[in-house]
């Protein structure tokens, strides 16, 4: 068996637009996941019982159902049940952001819990109201401490986006499948795809480390 990577050349433009799709889904999902995880984690630390139950139930659903099933459910199932039609892109972003929010809020809960009670007391003693206290005093410190797990979640999210290939969106993985179908070659396209993802993840982790260093500047002694 001889390997022939030259077959990839013709597909490079396709890889280019596919990479864009992957990145778009990843970043959109990350954005909404972060947005959603804040109220969710606040629910998890609240002492209002129903909010707590809701947040825990939410997390258990997204943890307990395989993510591919969630994708199929959202893209194929929900439109039939409700009549709400979604593009593959929207369905992907909805699932990935809601799924990631469940995991991120869980580590955020830990991060918030780890903040010393004295921080709350100092803020309260200064007359700072709850929303401002959370936004400016507690969450910034909590985010800082969960940043490493956020980067991990981000990487997981990026890799999970390959699942959108299964609902027909042309992401990097889907291009590989197309090449395989057209040329009957599997090693070359999937090798190139592996490299693509590996490089993306490396860039992300490097970026995450740089970010960590930046936010930790206040710990310098």
């Amino acid at each position: 068996m001889r390997l022939d990577f030259s077959i990839i050349w013709g597909y490079l433009p396709m890889f280019g637009s596919a990479l864009l799709v992957t990145l778009k889904v990843t970043f959109c999902s990350l954005f909404f996941a972060l947005l959603l995880s804040i109220p969710l984690s606040l629910c998890k630390i609240s002492n209002i019982r129903p909010l707590l139950w809701f947040a825990d139930f939410y997390t258990s659903v997204f943890r307990g159902v395989p993510i591919l099933v969630q994708v199929f459910m959202t893209y194929f199932g929900i439109p039939i049940a409700t009549g709400v039609k979604m593009t593959a892109f929207t369905a992907g972003v909805v699932v990935f952001s809601m799924n990631s929010a469940a995991y991120i809020s869980e580590s955020m809960r830990g991060g918030i819990r780890a903040i010393d009670r004295g921080q709350y007391e100092a803020a309260m003693a200064l007359g700072v109201r709850y929303p401002a206290m959370m936004k400016d005093i507690i969450l910034p410190q909590a985010v800082k401490s969960v940043l490493p797990s956020l980067v991990n979640e981000f990487i997981g999210l990026l890799k999970n986006t390959t699942l959108i290939a299964s609902i027909g969106l042309v992401d990097i993985l889907r291009v590989g499948q197309l090449i395989q179908a057209a040329t009957y070659r599997a090693f070359e396209p999937f090798f190139v795809i592996s490299v693509f993802y590996y490089v993306l993840v490396m860039v992300l982790s490097w970026f995450g480390k740089a970010l960590e260093k930046r936010v930790n500047k206040s710990d310098r002694h």
Partner: protein
């Protein structure tokens, strides 16, 4: 004026404060001392409701910040069903009846409309949100509790600009002056993590003062410090004591308490055993408990 009326605090089933009453007038400096576990810190922390009391009331400048305690208002007790019921049962001495109701904690939730109207009236007339009071009463903690993700300056101006809505430039100016006062102006742009304990506490005091408080609560401000740093912090507090600000201190520094205080309040097992000027308290304590305590610590 801070007026603590018959304060009770239970942690679960453990009673920590058992009927503490204490009035602190404007400009007065009161030190709360006593053995550990006597409820000193709990008492101090209940004044700005970091520790909401179980029973009793706290009044600040004529405003109540706790829910009204029915047992502290005779007219409310007299309006209760229990009172009227017991009256019909043959209790004719009003004072004895009220004493009995208090002693046996007889008031329940269902005491009739008049009872609840009276309680609501107290709230409507005098209640003020704890946050309003917290802006007027600063607090200095044992563990400083500076915000580690903010520089010294940001720590100082956060509450003035966000809570009191003071313009940024005014707040910065005030912060600089206060930092200069405590000898920390050269550290204005560093993060708290780089400071020593004594420096942190001096910044924390300045941060509290940046809100222009009428009173400051000190919760064992030197207990977490290395011995060589205690003096620099005490000196700052002593200087503050001469400015006419109201101060309530929980401290283990007896010499310091004697020097700065107008009154010493000795707490033991959740009750005030003595409340006297420092010279009298330290030379001739009334209670046996205070005598043995002083023998141990002096």
């Amino acid at each position: 004026m801070i007026d603590i009326r018959n304060l009770y605090k239970n942690f679960g089933v453990l009673p920590v404060l058992r009927g503490v009453s204490l009035t602190v007038n404007d400009g007065e400096i009161v030190s709360i001392i006593g053995p550990s576990g006597s409820g000193k810190s709990t008492l101090l922390r209940s004044i700005n409701l970091l520790e909401p009391p179980t029973y009793g009331e706290i009044w600040v400048d004529g405003k109540i910040i706790t829910p009204p305690d029915p047992y502290l208002h005779f007219e409310v007790i007299r309006a209760s069903r229990t009172y009227r019921h017991m009256q019909r049962e043959g209790w004719d001495d009003d004072a004895a009846l009220i004493r009995e109701i208090k002693a046996r904690d007889l008031l329940k939730n269902h005491e009739g409309q008049k009872y609840h109207t009276l309680l609501k009236e107290i709230t409507q007339h005098s209640f003020v949100d704890a946050n309003v009071v917290r802006e007027k009463i600063g607090m200095v903690f044992q563990h400083f509790n500076l915000f580690p993700h903010m520089t010294v300056l940001q720590n100082m101006i956060y509450a003035p600009t966000h809570v009191k809505k003071i313009p940024m430039d005014q707040a910065v100016e005030k912060a600089r002056a206060l930092l200069d006062n405590v000898g920390m102006l050269d550290k204005i742009d560093v993060y708290p993590g780089t400071l020593s304990g004594g420096q942190k506490q001096r910044v924390a005091i300045a941060r509290t003062l940046c809100m222009d408080p009428e009173a400051v609560l000190f919760d064992e401000p030197t207990s977490a410090l290395d011995p060589e740093m205690v003096k620099e912090v005490l000196d700052v507090i002593k200087r503050l004591a001469t400015t006419g600000i109201t101060m309530i201190l929980v401290t283990h520094e007896m010499g310091f308490a004697r020097e700065v205080s107008d009154r010493i309040c000795f707490l033991d097992e959740g009750t005030v055993l003595e409340d006297a000027p420092p010279d009298i308290f330290f030379s001739t304590p009334k209670s046996e408990r205070a005598r043995t305590f002083l023998e141990k610590v002096l």
